[in-house]
């Protein structure tokens, strides 16, 4: 597997995520689209870190660079936090509107 394979997969994931956000009629599906977007970024970071950054050579010991993987882990944490807040807001929406379809939650206009 070369870098290109990973980049193509992450680009497909990203596009699917955007597509889901734009077309889905249910807030939970939109959340799933957002998770896809964030995961495509994590994949990108890990792949770039593995293929682009040369490993360090310390006294004959080859140490691979893990900057990208660290960023990916933070990305997962933030995605979880975002999902928690999103679900809480969806609950509030359901209480007030009795629906979680974005097109029915549209009283503010103009």
């Amino acid at each position: 597997m070369s870098l290109q394979h990973y980049l193509v997969i992450s680009a497909i994931l990203f596009t699917l995520g955007i597509f889901a956000v734009l077309t889905r009629k249910n807030a939970i599906s939109i959340l799933m689209g957002i998770e896809l977007i964030l995961n495509s970024c994590n994949l990108n970071f890990a792949a770039f870190s593995r293929f682009v950054v040369p490993p360090e050579n310390v006294d004959g010991l080859i140490i691979p660079n893990i900057d990208g993987q660290v960023i990916a882990i933070f990305g997962i944490v933030l995605a979880a936090a975002e999902a928690a807040v999103f679900l809480a807001i969806i609950l509030a929406i359901y209480r007030e509107f009795g629906s979680i379809r974005p097109d029915e939650v549209d009283t503010l206009k103009g």
Binding site: F14, G17, I18, V21, A27, I30, I34, I37, L38, S40, C41, N44, F45, A47, F48, S49, V52, V53, P54, N65, D67, G68, V70, I71, F74, G75, L78, A81, E82, V85, F86, A88, I89, I90, A92, I93, R95, E96, F97, P102, V105, D106, T107, L108, K109, G110
Partner: protein, 498 residues
Amino acid sequence: MDYLENIESLAYFSPEILLVVFAAAVIILDLVVKNRESEKVAYLALVGLGCSLVAIIITHSALGTNESKNLFWGMIRLDGFAVFFKILLLLATAATILFSIRSEELDVRLKGEYYALLLAVTFGMFLMASATNLLMIFIALETVSLTSYILAGFLTHSPRSSEAAFKYITYGAVASGTMLFGLSLIFGMVGTGDLTTIGQQLPVVLASGEVTALGVLIAITFILAGIGYKIASVPFHMWSPDVYEGAPIPITAFLSVASKAAGFALFLRFFFSGFGNSEVMQSIDLGLLLAIVSALTMTIGNLAALPQQNVKRLLAYSSIAHGGYLLMGAVLLTNGDAAIVNKGIGAIIFYLIVYFFMNLGAFYVVVLIANEAGTEMIEGYRGLSSRAPLVAGAMAIFLFSLTGIPFLAGFFGKWVLFTAVIEGNLYWLAFVGLLNSVVSLYYYARIVKAMYLESAEDTESFSFSKGTFALLTVFVVPTLLIGLLNIFYSLSEKITLQ
């Protein structure tokens, strides 16, 4: 570039640490306080902000002038620029807390969480103003975003507020996801997250042909989605009118001033450090892109504000338009001449100081009228000149200053901004800005007309406490005088990025 290690950095990180400590203290105090009407929690949060302000000044004086320190192995940088934005953001939070104490729409049972979240969002904004690493930029942005989503939806049992939070998080999550994708591309191009190293490496990889200019432009466009959403620039402005209308008024005021200022701090530092090299800027033609975004932002903001009947929503569109004016200064970053770049940064900083006073002042009047008249619509402002003459006068000053009528603060803010843009040879952009200022007079004057020329059915006069007038004075006096005081010009000229 020398970096401070983690333990050494803590001494310079005290303002942020104090904010977190006080956020925890606010929650604990809230558990202890029995009387729900008591404002002790809010005052503790204000004390926390005060301690943090003292810490900022102490760390700044320990730093020395024109010095900068790279903390936590280069994750964040402490310099004059960061210190200025920290103080501005901190004062905006303090003003928001004072508004919240007087606002009657907030649920008294949830005070502890509310003020703790306000301190947390300030903490995130401090990081935004000083982040110098791609990872730190993203974490800071998400800290601010996640807490703002909750604050926007803080009115329980208000469908409007929940809807605002829902729209905010949907737009926001997509924008920040897109931004992270752009950051990952930049990371892939240079193999590091450090902004300064990116600034040095990017011209090298571009020259060697490993990376094409188009690739960099695509990555930057993705990143602009995230930043553009924070500063509500076209085409990522759609959330802002709905969120501003639905959120509690103090939070609307906070988002329109602090969130925007933090977004600009991030924007300036990111582009100056990461892409400040003029070869990179010219090869990807970023200046034209930013200039078009700026012109569209102010034009769409002003035109959409014209028919609005809700004052909160009107001020939301007006704040989009002001974001457009501020972006004119950001366009100057792409200028090859360092003197003009610094002029652009100085103009943005001066305009943000002016905008802080006039916009927060206008929102404070909206809070007061919502309390007394129970409405946010323009009808509620009819006959205000006889019902509450001082408040009406203050509101008129804020609105005329937002328009840019001489010789109020807004006029001088625009003056500094437009002269900088003209010096950068962007005559058409300055002209668009000028036309927009004229258009904006129409909708600001509509509120003034309602206050002074129309009469209300109910003529009973409003009564406000002495504290209200004192707080109003804090905003009115600078709006009248700021342009005449030299100190603010020299302050904005002194603050530069390195």
